[in-house]
């Protein structure tokens, strides 16, 4: 890996490159844990020449309080080459597959970065792979291979929002060889004949992004990855100022006896209101369902299982001011288990290159049910941060 980076930097010195970086500091207050100050940064480099484009993303995080929340991560490093209607990409990359705002069932290419924030669906870890896309006007076909499954760090039982009762062993356990590739095919179809819509179907065979924990000793737990066949459907339809969205997935577990096959469903509606006191307001309503084919097998091992009979209601206000200020408020409500997660988030730019942000997260769980969220108890956190962008 080191040689790859050196080679990359050497190439970089011979080419035009662009960079984008951010350096920030955050104060985080917790209702049930010791507060912390976090220094966080990321830097993205893009190298372009007439043959290919290379992108690299570095991220680091340093918590003054929690040793586990300290990392320097090469989160992306990939090369892209375009040939007429084809695009080839190879390396460590983050992709976004999804339509909904609260949670994306279809977003299965990358593992989540739980050390950064288990409640941020966009905090993800890069995955090593290769993929080729063929474009037919607006439609496309993509075939990809994920090379292997990486070890994944996880919040330990001494860090905030740590659901584990034992010490965490970061060495991933797998049902097959770690280097068994995961294959996927993604078809994307756009139509404006009857309805203005876009649909994607993803077929995947290999390791599931959902994992469970298994004991590696009397005092430690490790993540366990198993292989699956998965079919994912995602779509949106535009109706005036309203967007109807859906994400669905069926997962057949190939070799593991502990977890059941499962079906995930989600439906969403997004409606935009423009120029309300000079601001734009977008309203979101979403519903999630998680169905186990065999209810006697292991349940509630992953955050994705939280989204079962849940309604997500949110709105976003874009203030259309020079600071590009933006306020998001949302609640995830479990219909039957009387659990809810409330989140508020605010961003605004000032002095040209500084961004201030605040966030409030509150978890109201129900100890009666052993869901992943019940292990967080009733807790809340408050974040205030300042970032410099350059």
């Amino acid at each position: 890996m080191r040689y790859f980076i050196v080679l990359f930097l050497l190439f970089g010195s011979l080419m035009a490159f662009e960079q984008k970086s951010e350096l920030g500091v955050e104060g985080k207050g917790y209702s049930q844990y010791v507060n912390e100050v976090v220094v966080e940064g990321k830097s993205e480099l893009k190298f372009d020449n007439e043959y290919f484009t290379t992108k690299m993303a570095l991220a680091f995080l340093y918590s003054n309080e929690y040793r586990e929340r300290r990392y320097l991560l090469l989160n992306e490093l990939y090369i892209t080459k375009e040939f007429k209607e084809y695009t080839l990409s190879i390396g460590k990359e983050i992709k976004y597959w999804g339509e909904l705002e609260g949670y994306n069932i279809a977003d299965i290419y990358n593992q989540k970065n739980y050390l950064k924030d288990p409640f941020d669906k966009d905090a993800k870890l890069g995955t090593f792979g290769v993929n080729i896309s063929r474009y037919f006007d607006e439609n496309s076909l993509e075939f990809g291979v994920k090379f292997y499954e990486e070890d994944s760090k996880y919040p330990q039982n001494k860090t905030p929002f740590a659901p584990l009762p034992l010490e965490y062993d970061k060495n991933l356990q797998t049902s097959n060889e770690r280097y068994s590739p995961t294959l996927y095919l993604k078809v994307n179809l756009v139509s404006d004949e009857i309805l203005d819509s876009e649909t994607s179907i993803i077929l995947l065979r290999g390791y599931d992004t959902k994992r469970y924990f298994s004991a590696t000793s009397a005092t430690t737990l490790a993540q366990y990855a198993y292989r699956v066949n998965k079919a994912v459907f995602l779509s949106h339809i535009i109706l005036d100022d309203t967007i109807l969205k859906t994400e669905m997935a069926y997962t057949e577990v190939i070799e593991d006896k502990q977890v059941s096959d499962y079906t995930q469903l989600s439906f969403g509606i997004e409606h935009s209101l423009y120029d309300i006191f000079a601001s734009d307001i977008t309203l979101y309503g979403e519903y999630y369902r998680y169905l186990y084919s065999d209810a006697s097998k292991r349940k509630n091992v992953d955050i994705s299982e939280l989204y079962d009979n849940d309604i997500f209601i949110a709105f976003r206000v874009n203030f259309n001011d020079v600071g590009s200020s933006d306020l998001k408020l949302g609640v995830l409500e479990d219909i039957f288990k009387d659990e809810r997660v409330f989140k508020a988030d605010f961003h605004s730019r000032f002095f040209k290159d500084f961004v201030v942000h605040g966030e409030f997260l509150q978890i109201l769980s129900n100890a009666k049910y052993k869901t992943p969220i019940s292990q967080f108890d009733n807790s809340s956190r408050f974040t205030l941060g300042l970032a410099y962008t350059f």
Binding site: K20, E22, T80, E82, E85, T87, I94, K95, Y96, G98, D122, S133, Y135, D137, E138, S140, D192, D196, E198, H236, I238, D240, D241, T242, I243, S272, Y274, D275, A278, D280, N320, D321, V322, G323, S324, R349, K352, D353, V355, A387, T389, F390
Partner: protein, 248 residues
């Protein structure tokens, strides 16, 4: 006597034109660029005169049923690499996709937001779109008027799109080159909302290009300007440069 007859004939010829004929000629003057790549700076000023800067790269390609454009935000830094891909559809809603680089998401957006502020400026999305004459109706003939000693066609155009933020626009087009120089835009309540100026015209490869647009919102006393730092036309972009594959 001959001069008077020629002048009268010319005046009659000018008066005889409908608003649409003038608008079509004006549109033809700025059409034919085929495709373009421009870098622009937008300056936003509030009522107190405090300025805020945005920088954009604009790629455009002409099309029979509307132009396609790809805007890449270059500054402020927190918006850098955000992209907006727009397909204008004459007589229908445009199609727009937004690329959010921080999360690598391509998000389809509802494009009825014609009247909404573009990048927090006084420009709306419809102000920065192609200005194709087919997007308007013209309720009356062009009038020749004098402003600051120069002759202009005064045309009144009404946006066909019911989601437009304007009830009508009065645009002043010079009688020699058929280029729009300034105008007044009226809100849905028929009150004057914005005054617009088109400045610094340059002829590139036979096509007139405006290189500065200034817009004053007379209702909130804010103003914005868009200046072209560089501009190239007929650069050989193809449909492929405006497909969703570029949103990454």
């Amino acid at each position: 006597m001959k001069k008077i007859v020629i002048g009268l004939a010319l005046s009659l010829a000018l008066f005889a034109q409908t608003g649409e004929e003038v608008a079509k000629k004006a549109y033809e003057k700025i059409s034919g660029y085929k495709s373009s790549i421009s870098k622009t700076t937008m300056i936003l000023k509030n009522a107190q005169g405090d300025a805020n800067i945005r920088k954009l790269e604009m790629k455009k390609i002409e099309g029979e049923n509307g132009d396609k454009s790809l805007l890449t935000f270059l500054y402020p830094n927190d918006l850098k690499d955000t992209k907006l891909l727009s397909f204008e559809v004459i007589g229908d809603d445009d199609k727009q996709w937004l690329y959010l680089p921080a999360i690598k998401r391509v998000k389809r957006i509802s494009s009825r937001n014609k009247s909404g502020s573009f990048m927090a400026s006084e420009f709306s999305y419809e102000d920065i779109s192609s200005q194709n004459y087919k997007n308007y109706t013209y309720p009356r003939d062009a009038k020749v008027v004098k402003r600051a000693g120069l002759e202009y066609f005064e045309i009144v155009r009404v946006p066909k799109d019911k989601h437009s933020g304007y009830s009508k626009q009065i645009v002043y087009i010079d009688t020699k080159e058929y280029l729009a120089h300034f105008g007044e835009y009226f809100d849905k309540n028929k009150r004057l909302l914005k005054k617009i100026k088109f400045e610094n015209y340059v002829k590139l490869n036979g096509v007139w290009r405006v290189h500065k647009i200034v817009i004053d919102n007379v209702q909130n006393s804010k103003s914005s300007s868009l200046s072209w730092d560089s501009d190239e036309i007929k650069v050989g972009l193809t449909k492929r440069d405006f497909s969703k594959r570029v949103l990454r």
